[in-house]
Symmetry: C3
Subunit: 454 residues, 3 copies
């Protein structure tokens, strides 16, 4: 047995397992940042979405993303991994229909498993932004469509040998392929749904709807951070000692400076070091370093993270001001910082980090070539994903609806969608099992007049 | 240093660590699915059981399971790993008394560590089914006996070169050796104990006693799923690139389709996609694919999981109907689907997946030979484990008792057994610290007349 | 590519990731063992501390710890890893300024990443002991100073080729370098701060302030145990099959017997098997085996753990008796058992486990030489760390203060320091949002007269 194939496969599979575990992280962060009355629903969405992604990516997504074909989507070996393939052969020795991923010398199913867990994280980004009001079935349906026709298609453009790859755009581990893709689909969903009841009042006031469990959110963030040590260093799909160590350090450094950036920004703007902002700051730094992690120095990774930490706080405030209700800040974390990281690669890439790839970025004498390629990729993925996602959301709205009833939303989706209560042994601050009507509230608190778009 | 021994040892140890972490998963799932008044007790059982397993498997279990000896149990090198052994030598080069596990070329303590964490998961399966009423000390005692005289003995039959191995029975990673073994012992315990007070009323009504923390249960399930990527692919105990990638994919696919199967079944039968059923569905799919993961195609793994997802929902309903009180569904998950997975191997194995092992199963032209061997193993392990477990439970009952007092059960085992409260800062829905007597309840709710077997 | 460099780097990075994840474990244990009104603060401290550690260790700590220089601190290549280095070259082939760590053949950034996550765990030990009353900013400041001038300096003495290394002191994975170092700094902090308001009354009574979430504490302990399989076996920084398997087993065995020791001790002394003591017992066993894990037999590891389990319960009781308020038992776990483990190495080391390192300990015919070296190290690190830490705490106290106001402490640090509430949807047993004054309490419960040192 070739020791290199053994080592590369161990590395690819172990890091894939860590990326898989990010689904647990997303579930915890998103549930922790939302209300207890919707907790079961949030958890269910984040759990079932990986099952849906598995089936969708196996059935169709892998072939569209990595199958040989047009510059826009894969055609050969389309369904259920049934194309010819002689992996782990690489380069000229490779014979098969998934040639865009033949640069890595691991067995076909190792490639598939690694890419599958990536697809799963893309789909799960959406769930946070649409939380607290979406129909469970509608979310499941969208997730399938997202994997099969959004994620995989733009993934083909960049990682499947498509037109953006040929245009010289680089995205090492998916700031754009995974994060801003998921972020744009999430933004489309949040807009299509409208805000949660009570989030914005008629007189323009923004209500804070605090998350119910910050311990859960903290666990989730640490799990995601851990998972990112699979996400980024694993994207080598090879146990290249110098490079994987380098990526571990840039990834971690960006997270660290982003935490400090977000903490300081919230301390200044909100007067206190808000924990939610700090956690989202960490995730923002991780999202931002995802594209450039293998192309920039440790010093540059510190700068990228610091900017990401500031950006995410400003973005959360911005989206709230324009009344886009994103309960967990998914758009600010994944879309905004996916864009930032992809762009930062164009500015800060240095040829010595991964020779014969990106070349030098703008600040290191590479001129505007790389920056323009990066911007092309950012805009193209944004336009395609946002527009098609919005069409999908609108179609689902037409056919089965996307939003639960107002009564169910107020009572909580846990009872309405699942018949479960997340924490039945504890007394809730506001009773969330009985219906609180519009102006006919049976609770002591007066229900204010809200301006929820419906 | 031989690169293969290095890679194989890394793989074996890293996957063993993931299997170890399943103890955290079991603790979270079992605590989340039970009441907050018993939470400390559930956590304590799941925590201490791994310590007990470590000592028991080191002292006696390893030798019984893997020591050379009779077809029924090991004899040589029985205590504390003290037998001769020249690992990592394999095959004909091996000289020692643990020859049944000399097929893997890793050091002795790597073999031991991997098998130890497996034993630990076997013991922890039992804890869920006996929750809410078992004495802490009695559980500890049973766990020791289970590892030393149940798990290790039937393990010897199948993995230790015993009579079932020679009869041609296959169980790659332990659907039978670990899961249905633990499941049968759990069933014996649940029957020996009788149901929790209030679970079944005199007029035959089945009360739902909801779990207190579904976030915890969700975390636990994700941790178990992650752990299964150690459990199944790690059972190669070798970094065989093609095979470990294959097993990652079959394992994940079965979990995914089982989630969908259980969600749909509960949606149809219970009118809503119940989260508890969905989580148990996932675990059922993982249990079922454990035996056949290295012998079946990806397509077959999808079918095995789908069936498991349906089976577990039906099984939970069935055991409730016959008044076997299993608070977390451990028997339905581990016993029922351990049996299903072991049997499915006989139906769906294909020779090409792992040449020179199982040969083809029934549906692939292999005739009934493999099916019969699998059934033999299923029945033999069931009979031995259930009968001897029941004898152990009965002996413990005679000597120190197995069930806490009714007063303690109603108040909660946390106070009674441990003097702890899991969540002292929160107001509980029903006060669970003060004694609620039989008919002399001091709470507002009337205590109905229950038919708890005592 | 050299297969050994590949395997060693995979091993070093994967185990480093597990050690990183210990930050999640510490956060969960420390939050779970403290009150819900301080939960956000505890989580925030444990989260931000890793970001601070990353920056501090990158900027200064690494160079002080591993840079060539004096026997007391590193001088060359001091800042930001900028020294010459031709890793992964080892031994005589190594050319660079970090020669004390040139024994491992992995790239420089792999060494840095592994050592960085170790530094992070050192800093996080402190946070538990100072919980419930420390100012957030003061903790951040101390953490930076701790990494840069305490941890790294004594680390240089032992792992950086300094005077203790030359004196023949051994500490394989950091019972002293990490754990008792952090423990002494924690003790200095707990003393400098004084106890929490209400912990000790004027008449000398010790109040129990129970942790708010034992599920969280349990998760944290399992995560730490998992992380220790990175901490100890990973400290080989090489995939040496026999040794890493050995260390996995000694590490696990010590944890297991420590659990049993602590459970039994608390069962005897406190009449019940207290879960908190059991969890701390596990951590104590892991701390104690950290120094000797690569030098002692499996049997000795069982003894080391058993003693640690007893010690930690006695230590917790002792520190409470002398009114040192350590809300989570950090000093008892990390300082006391760090000392015990380092000392036990001197007693129980056996030459055959890692030839040409420690030689035999006292009980195996090695005489008093090793014991004296170990004691020298224990005392030197204790004196330096405790004294300088106390000076740092005192300086911070002078300049910006270290303790929050009494009002804030009573209300909870979550509101005061962060403006967050950890679990806003649940009714708290005691309202912790409104101010409970000294004798002017607006709640029903009378506030007793407390003797909190201020």
């Amino acid at each position: 047995m070739d020791p290199k194939v053994m080592a590369d496969t161990i590395w690819t599979l172990v890091t894939a397992m860590l990326v898989f575990f990010m689904n647990c992280g997303f579930a915890c962060v998103e549930a922790g940042f939302q209300q207890s009355k919707n907790c079961v629903n949030v958890l269910s969405k984040n759990f079932v979405v990986f099952a849906i992604s598995t089936v969708a990516f196996w059935f169709l997504g892998w072939g569209i993303m990595f199958g040989d074909g047009s510059p826009f989507y894969g055609i050969q070996g389309l369904l259920m991994l049934k194309g010819a393939d002689n992996s782990p052969a690489t380069g000229d020795a490779y014979q098969g229909v998934y040639s865009s991923i033949a640069w890595t010398g691991v067995p076909l199913l190792a490639k598939f498993f690694f890419q599958l867990v990536f697809a799963g994280t893309g789909a799960t980004i959406v769930s946070g932004a649409v939380g607290g009001r979406i129909k469970y079935l509608s979310f499941i349906l969208f997730s399938f469509l997202y994997i099969a026709f959004l994620y995989s298609v733009t993934g083909h453009w960049i990682w499947g040998g498509g037109w953006l790859a040929k245009a010289g755009m680089w995205d090492f581990a998916g700031s754009t392929v995974v994060h801003s893709s998921g972020g744009w689909a999430a933004l489309a969903g949040a807009i299509a749904l409208g805000p949660r009841f009570g989030k914005y009042t008629k007189d323009g006031k923004i209500n804070v709807i605090p998350g119910h469990n910050l311990s859960l959110a903290l666990i989730g963030t640490f799990v995601l951070w851990l998972g990112w040590f699979g996400f980024n260093p694993g994207s080598t799909m090879a146990a290249d000692p110098r490079l994987i160590a380098h990526i571990c350090v840039t990834t971690n450094m960006s997270a660290a400076t982003a935490i400090l950036g977000a903490t300081l920004t919230s301390w200044i703007l909100l007067k206190k070091p808000d924990l939610g902002m700090t956690l989202n700051g960490c995730l923002a730094g991780l999202v931002a370093i995802t594209a450039p992690c293998a192309f920039v120095s440790v010093e540059s990774s510190a700068i990228i993270g610091l900017v990401a930490g500031v950006l995410v706080v400003l973005a959360v405030i911005f989206f709230d001001r324009i009344h886009v209700d994103d309960p967990v800040g998914a758009v600010s974390v994944h879309m905004v910082n996916g864009v930032w990281g992809t762009f930062a690669l164009g500015l800060l890439a240095e040829d010595w980090v991964s020779p014969n790839t990106t070349g030098n970025g703008f600040f290191f004498g590479g001129g505007t070539k790389l920056v323009i390629a990066q911007l092309t990729g950012i805009v193209a993925v944004a336009a395609y994903t946002f527009v098609v996602a919005f069409i999908f959301w609108s179609l689902i709205k037409l056919v089965i609806g996307i939003r639960v009833s107002l009564q169910e939303e107020i009572e909580g989706l846990d009872i309405g969608e699942h018949g479960n209560v997340a924490y039945p042994d504890f007394v809730a601050r506001k009773p969330h099992y009985s219906f609180v009507g519009l102006g006919t509230s049976s609770t002591e608190e007066k229900t204010p007049e809200y301006a929820g778009k419906r």
